[in-house]
């Protein structure tokens, strides 16, 4: 190890001990909740379904998933280590007390303050007021706020309804749009897809539902903000987005949780359906509580995300910036069924302290001339382990299909690990698969060059890391890109010199 790196490592230790990295979203909201006691059996599944006043078909669907889950074993193949999860010690439902609010005015002010504190405005008026003075077409974002197990508010519903766009909580969708839910729920991620997807299917509490009708461009960005607040609960949200023929929607997802010493489980399922000529852009900035510098606490983020490009020329694009969670274990994937459909995956995953990440994507090419692009940037610092795992499969029907994959890893400090596990499977000659991966450290030359020009080491590393991630950031919606870059910078604070 060079002197300079040593210096860096020293700074890591020193700065870190002094300040630690501030996790600004780590507060707890004192609010009365309606929480199921810990434990999981058929009665709990029925109770969740009952609390949400679901129709019988939904209860049956959940019970079927529960039965399948009971016969499944916990998967162990990921490059992550954690003690066995006691599924009977988790509470599967927690909601702020009281009837579901009919409008924003009925939402508990304590909750509204929580979201304000997190920088998520739920007041449409406030937002609109701002717009009056700004440009007419300033971007607006409709937000669905999910607090523990339930959706507490969805903004801009009327504006969206004018365009025919349905944006509501999953519970509402089950009531109001059962035909769409029945048709598509579980169609992309089937109940027995994997252990955590089966668990989610049985106990999912809430999440967002989006339907964009034919030839409609959703008039604003849609966003869901997930917040875990209660202790010893798991969050199991379920999101379903359907873009009908020729539709376009951009969807953003953010998440935070309080700082606690226990690990909390977050096992979500996200399903995207793109029909012919439709496009879905799904962006995530994941900032769940990562645990403290000794590796205590933090969220286990075990998520199944998958999109189906069902129609011709459809497109699904995943962008993720992963900085939080004690363990991240997810592979946002695309099944490219429609001819000429396009799948994209852009990812930045930053791990530090004792964080572990095993993340990547699966691109399954089924239709002819389908194309996929994968760009993954992994940054490991501290004593963390960061793995890219991805699979590109060319099925026999995917004539003329193409994939390009680039995954790069950056190492900061000598006690972390960076790993790459790509699976390439091709069954036809006319498909082309290209994969490249590199691993390196922040080079001493680059740092030296910056320092020569009077740039502080910390600032220099942030700049280098930012440049390293540029290919991914440029795919994010503007405001999100700024937030992501800032988040990365904050996350790197104290992790580098």
């Amino acid at each position: 190890m060079s002197e300079q790196s040593n210096e860096l490592a020293d700074l890591v230790g020193a700065e870190h001990a002094a300040t630690g990295r501030e996790y600004t979203a780590g507060f707890v909201t004192e609010i009365e909740t309606d929480t199921l006691p810990p434990g999981l059996d058929e009665n709990v599944v029925r109770a969740i379904s009952g609390k949400k006043e679901e129709p019988a078909w939904m209860t049956e669907w959940r019970l079927d998933a529960f039965g399948r889950w009971q016969r499944m074993r916990t998967p162990r193949w990921a490059h992550v280590q954690f003690p066995d999860i006691d599924f009977q010690a988790i509470s599967y439902f927690s909601a702020p007390k009281g009837d579901a609010p009919k409008s924003l005015d009925e939402v508990d002010p304590e909750l509204l303050r929580t979201y304000e504190k997190l920088g998520i405005p739920l007041h449409e008026r406030a937002r609109l007021a701002g717009v009056e003075t700004a440009a007419e077409d300033a971007p607006q974002v409709a937000v669905d706020a999910v607090f523990d197990s339930v959706s507490v508010a969805t903004t801009f519903k009327e504006r969206l309804a004018e365009a025919g766009v349905v944006f509501c909580s999953m519970s509402e969708a089950i009531r109001e749009h059962p035909e769409l839910v029945r048709k598509y729920l579980g169609s992309v991620v089937p109940k027995p897809d994997n252990f955590y997807a089966a668990l989610n299917s049985a106990v999912f509490s809430d999440g967002s539902f989006v339907y964009v009708p034919k030839n409609t461009r959703c008039p604003m960005e849609l966003s869901t903000y997930f917040r875990i607040n209660a202790e010893n609960t798991g969050q199991f949200e379920r999101t379903l987005i359907i873009a009908d023929e020729g539709a376009y929607v951009s969807y953003l997802e953010g998440c935070t949780a309080p700082m606690r010493d226990d690990n909390q489980l977050h096992a979500a399922v996200v399903e995207l359906v793109a029909l012919a000529d439709a496009e879905i852009k799904y962006s995530t900035v994941q900032n769940w509580y990562p645990g403290d510098e000794q590796g205590n606490g933090g969220i286990y983020n075990f998520v199944t995300k998958r999109g189906a490009c069902l129609g011709e020329r459809s497109k699904i694009s995943w962008t993720q910036v992963e900085t939080g969670s004690a363990i991240t274990w997810k592979y946002p994937s695309v099944v490219l069924r429609g001819a000429d459909s396009v799948g994209e995956f852009y990812s930045v995953a930053l791990t530090r302290n004792f964080q572990q990440a095993d993340t990547g994507t699966k691109m399954t090419h089924i239709g002819p001339r389908t194309k996929s692009t994968i760009v993954s940037k992994g940054i490991s610092a501290g004593r963390s382990q960061n793995s890219y795992r991805g699979r590109v499969r060319m099925n026999p029907g995917a004539k003329g299909a193409r994939n390009y994959t680039q995954c790069d890893s950056l190492l900061i400090g000598d006690a972390c690990g960076a790993h790459t596990f790509p699976y390439i499977e091709s069954k036809l000659p006319s498909a082309v698969v290209e994969h490249e991966a590199t691993t390196s450290k922040v080079s001493d030359e680059q740092l030296f060059l910056c320092q020569q020009r009077g740039i502080e080491p910390e600032r220099a590393v942030a700049m280098i890391v930012n440049g390293f991630c540029r290919d991914v950031f440029r795919t994010l919606p503007m405001e999100f890109a700024v937030e992501a870059a800032k988040l990365l910078e904050v996350s790197l604070e104290g992790a580098v010199g």
Binding site: T420, E425, S426, P429, V433, E434, T438, S440
Partner: protein, 378 residues
């Protein structure tokens, strides 16, 4: 045993009933026996056997390979010491090897090699032996074979494995500090099912170079484990394959950088036609503290038919920060534009394709004569 379908469990039963081979009784078969007793042989569809149906190989395990050679044939000259595993001197050479060169738990079928061993040869290339003629292993007279070679400090040696039938072959190589070993493995097309494991330790400033040409088998699996155990060791692995018909070739390669300053270069080029299946899993592992490691892997594959399959999995597992690692993998078809370019210059399509494949494979092969003899290139 013919007609009996064996899985990992029933094979273990049969092996325990039969007991270890009587060949080279001095060999410590304890850990191997234990592995079989603990039923730790790989099951069908285990991760390491995703693309090779191990039960097809299990079917051949007890009967062995009927076309195996009748006698030992090894060609060498000069000061090289060659002894049979039956001789007590082999035990001394094994002592010289030191620790196991591979982890039995990662390569459990090597336990079958120990249990059923029928032919083994230990080779020592003495230090300061001067430049030596190649050691050519032509035939070993049993289905379960073992080759141990120790290249002592500063010596320079060449080992050639000629195409020869077996069911399992274990090759253990130690390249002591400052020594150099050039290893050529030639695998002709085979109607048989065979597995082999090459495990090599490369010590400080030593150099190990492998060139492997293969046409695949009814089932063929090549495991290679190279460990750079000393500072500034160097490893070069090159592999080329050309498969047709229903040939199967599964390459599982792991390069471990255990010491600082090591370099490794891996280059693989393969063509899969007919209904064949080609697999390359190439892992680079950089241990904590193995700073200034420089490792790269490149694998390129051509699919020459609609029914052939290619699986590539280049992996990086890195636990040190001052490293330079990269891998690249491609799968595609012969570039028809390139073929058309040849045709506009009066070279017919078939010749053009053949030239193209040849040029492609030559990126990984330097020994064109052997490649031609084996039919890897035309």
């Amino acid at each position: 045993m013919a007609g009996l379908t064996l899985n990992a469990g029933s094979l273990a039963e049969a092996l325990l009933a039969r007991g270890p081979a009587s060949y080279a009784p001095w060999l410590d078969r304890g850990p191997h026996l234990e592995l079989i007793e603990q039923r730790a042989l790989p099951e069908l569809r285990s991760e390491a056997w995703r693309h090779t149906n191990i039960s097809r190989w299990y079917q051949t395990v007890l009967n062995g390979n009927e076309s195996v050679a009748q006698s030992r044939r090894i060609e060498f000259a000069g000061a090289v010491e060659v002894v049979d595993f039956e001789e007590s001197r082999a035990a001394e050479l094994l002592e010289l090897r030191g620790d196991e060169l591979y982890q039995l738990s990662a390569h459990p079928i090597a336990a079958l090699n120990a249990m059923l061993l029928g032919a083994g040869v230990a080779i020592r290339v003495p230090a300061r032996g001067g430049r030596l003629h190649p050691v050519r292993v032509v035939d070993l007279p049993a289905s379960y074979q073992r080759i141990l070679m120790i290249v002592e400090s500063g010596a320079e040696a060449e080992l050639i494995e000629e195409p020869s039938p077996f069911t399992h072959r274990l090759v253990e190589l130690v390249v002591q500090s400052g020594a150099r070993l050039l290893h050529r493995r030639l695998q002709a097309a085979s109607p048989h099912r065979d597995c082999s494991l090459v495990a090599v330790r490369v010590e400080a400033n030593a150099n190990y170079e492998l060139a492997q040409l293969s046409l695949g088998g009814d089932l063929r699996r090549n495991d290679i484990v190279a460990t750079l155990s000393g500072e500034s060791a160097h490893v070069t692995l090159r592999g080329a394959w050309r498969l047709d018909g229903t040939r199967h070739l599964d390459n599982q390669v792991a390069v471990h950088h255990d010491a600082p300053g090591g370099t490794s270069r891996q280059t693989y080029r393969g063509v899969a036609g007919g209904r064949s299946r080609a697999v390359l899993n190439g892992r680079i592992e950089i241990a904590p503290g193995a700073q200034r490691s420089d490792a790269s892997l490149s694998t390129k594959n051509l699919l020459a038919s609609d029914t052939a399959e290619v699986y590539a999995k280049p992996e990086l597992e890195i636990y040190a920060n001052d490293v330079k690692c990269s891998h690249g993998a491609t799968v595609g078809a012969i570039d028809e534009d390139a073929v058309n370019y040849f045709r506009t210059r009066g070279i017919d399509g078939q010749t053009a394709r053949s030239l193209f494949v040849r040029g492609f494979l030559r990126e990984a092969i330097d020994d064109v004569e052997t490649a031609r003899r084996l039919g890897v290139i035309q």
